[in-house]
Amino acid sequence: MKKKAILIGVATVLLFALCFAFLQMLLMPKYMSAPYLEGAMIQEYYDNAGGNDVVFIGDCEVYENFSPITLWEEYGIPSYIRGSAQQYIWQSYYLLEETLRYETPKVVVFNVLSMKYDATQSEPYNRMLLDGMKWSPTKVQAVRACIEASERAGVHETFLSYVFPLLRFHSRWSDLGSDDVEYLFSRRTVTHNGYLMRVDVNPVEYIPTPDYLAPEDAQLPAICYDYLDRMTKLCQDNGIELVLIKAPSVLPFWYDVWDAQMEEYAAQHGLAYYNFLDEEHLTASGIDYSTDTYDGGLHLNLSGAEKMSVYFGKILQERFDLPDRRGDAALAAKWQEKADAYYAMEADQRREIEEYGYPVSYALPPES
């Protein structure tokens, strides 16, 4: 009798767990369709982890502006972009820490735009990053840091909702779509080693004048410096060169006062810092805002990303003495596969632009 009761109890718990897990899988966003592809990026890394000489860490200004395929094809540099939408520096730090559990690159490139944020700007971006991370002590700390950052913004998140994302996404029952069924048990790859491709063009109409910067916003937040210090130390401890960059985006504004602080920080810590908004870099890279952006200067398109990669790849190789690995047959074959997918997607996007006026499978209609 007691045995039967235990069996019933165990079966009950298992059945409940099964139902719960199924509902959770069903209701969690799949991030397989535009415009939310960014949510799928973080977990794609685990299929490509290891063997990268360069790892980019940061927000959309890295995953839209650099092409690992170009870096490989031009310089034989294997690289990966661990980017996510509006990635805050505490997230970047923990992503880097996690990355180092899988590999030790020679160079880590960090985009400094997130230095301006001391709190979460939008909770869904936390989810897009954290829900894609595998559980580890690093993720636990990352979740805690993100929850604290949300609290600073007045948004109350719970740790439990990261352990059981159903508690966060339960209300999606009314938004379920075909993607939720199609990608219930499998996913497709949306990036090319972290690069999110867009080939369409939406030129910069004019260079906007910067908004007034309040005096209290002039100094980059202390908490960001704290994480930057930790990132710097992490790289030093692992013999990694940390390179700070500011990607060439017209918006959001990157103020001179911030730039000066980054230059000072880089100089103090012996780090390289490149502000690609500087005229010399823009001219040398050949970035043309009339052809190289798909959204009026916020992000580069494929053309712009390839130009930036050609330009920055040269700097990386020369300054940090990165080897050309194209001679490694096995690696070359692997990268050839990636390149094939890359060019296939490029062709697909160009075909859709030709056919529909914009890449329908990759973006929302231009007017939206």
Binding site: C19, H156, S171, W173
Partner: protein, 535 residues
Amino acid sequence: MSFISFSFLAFFAVLFCLYYVIPRRFQWMLLLLGSYVFYLFGGVQYIGYILVTTLSTYLLARRLGTLHASQDAYLAAHKKELDREAKKAYKAGVKRRMWKWLLLGLFLNFGILAVIKYLDFGIQNLNAILGLFGAGQLGLFRFALPLGISFYTFQSMGYLIDVYRGKTQAEKNLGKFALFVSFFPQILQGPISRFDQLAPTLFAEHAFDSRNVSFGLQRMLWGFFKKVVIADRVAVAVQAIVTTRTDAGDPAYTGLFVLLGLVLYAIQIYGDFTGGIDITIGMAQMLGVKLPENFERPYFSKSIAEYWRRWHMTLGEWFKDYLFYPLSICRPMMKLANFSRRKFGDKIGKRVTVYISTLAVWFTTGLWHGAAWNFVVWGLLNGVIILISYELEPLYRRFHAKFHVEKHFAYRLFQVGRTFLLMGALRMLDVYHDVGLTFRMLGSIFTAPNFAALGDAALLEGLGLTAGDVAVVALGVVVMLAVSLAGRRGSVRVRLAARPFVLRYCLFFLLTLVILVFGAYGIGYNASDFIYSVF
């Protein structure tokens, strides 16, 4: 720490496990510790108030108990020497002393409640009067309301009065009494328990009883369903109806939308309050503690008087036992009744005490719900309608005798519907928080129903409910109704327990998953606090 927060569930889970692991003689101590931890989560600064109430009530009750005991001892020792008059005189003397101690307790504790909750209301009214004469205004104190102060004050004072009356023995153990005052499941929104009923179950040693735990858990789940799936979802639309304004500053939702708001708020407050009580009683049951019921299918009531016998029953009984009856039979009231009889005859004379006591009870009930005129008017209107019904009773009887409709389902349905709408209309005072606006809005149902507005896409969208939400609410209400109807034939849980376990477990799984998926909680929802937890 709200009952519907994960932190509370974690807190309760830990406490529950410890409760059945520790030696049983320590169980009540764990509950006391848990109750104070829970209370401290609500705000460290409030702990002083509940401690004052606990200590003062404990000491005064002990004093009353001692007086009772010494009276009994004295009378027993002098049984033969004292004649009836002497005994009576002695008792009267003791009673006078006890009365003073009781008054001290009542003044102190109701005084705290009055200052914290009602002082600003009084000052605001005084300021309004001073304003008429162009006089200066007094500043407000803006005291923060301690957690559950109305509930624990009423519960404690009920106990003190019972000890005074000799109905209850004064509790000797301060810790146990502190637990009676602060027992965490009920401190937020009741039910308001009586010491003689709660103490035996609260302080007893409880062995793990799977049936109690299972039934308690089921009741909690049912409460969560009502609160999180229905009440909190409907709350969005109610708020929209009440607070949305046009560019000119007028209410955007008028006419039939007010009627819709009335119905939706009835659903909200039912789900919210009965759901909260289900969670409370279920939680207590899981700990082996039996709390009194607070509802008995109130929306099936056929009159307002009946409604109030079935809604928030413990508060109604408190007012009946500790205010209505004492007020009705107090010496000044008896004198007034006699005077009225002499002056206006028996018919009016016998009504005077009933009328005054009823209106006093409803005035106080209104104030208990909130320090604002909308609550006072709400309370008084309830009293007035009950008195009107009382006066119309002979007419109803004649009508029933002539037409024999009492037993007809349609007529009973009419009575239930009438009571539901009437109570709903009164409740709108609680929603609009403005007496004039409430009456204007209720009036607009008749004067400007505006049927066309019901098809206005912008207004419907403004309610904040998607088609899915409406479907969930509709289904939820049907389920609540079905369970209420089933409950008329006895405990639903007892009947479910007789069903095959597969069916039972499937049902509970389903309910749990429904709460998890369809609950209006987490980011994207502004989960409401329990409405009654602010009283």
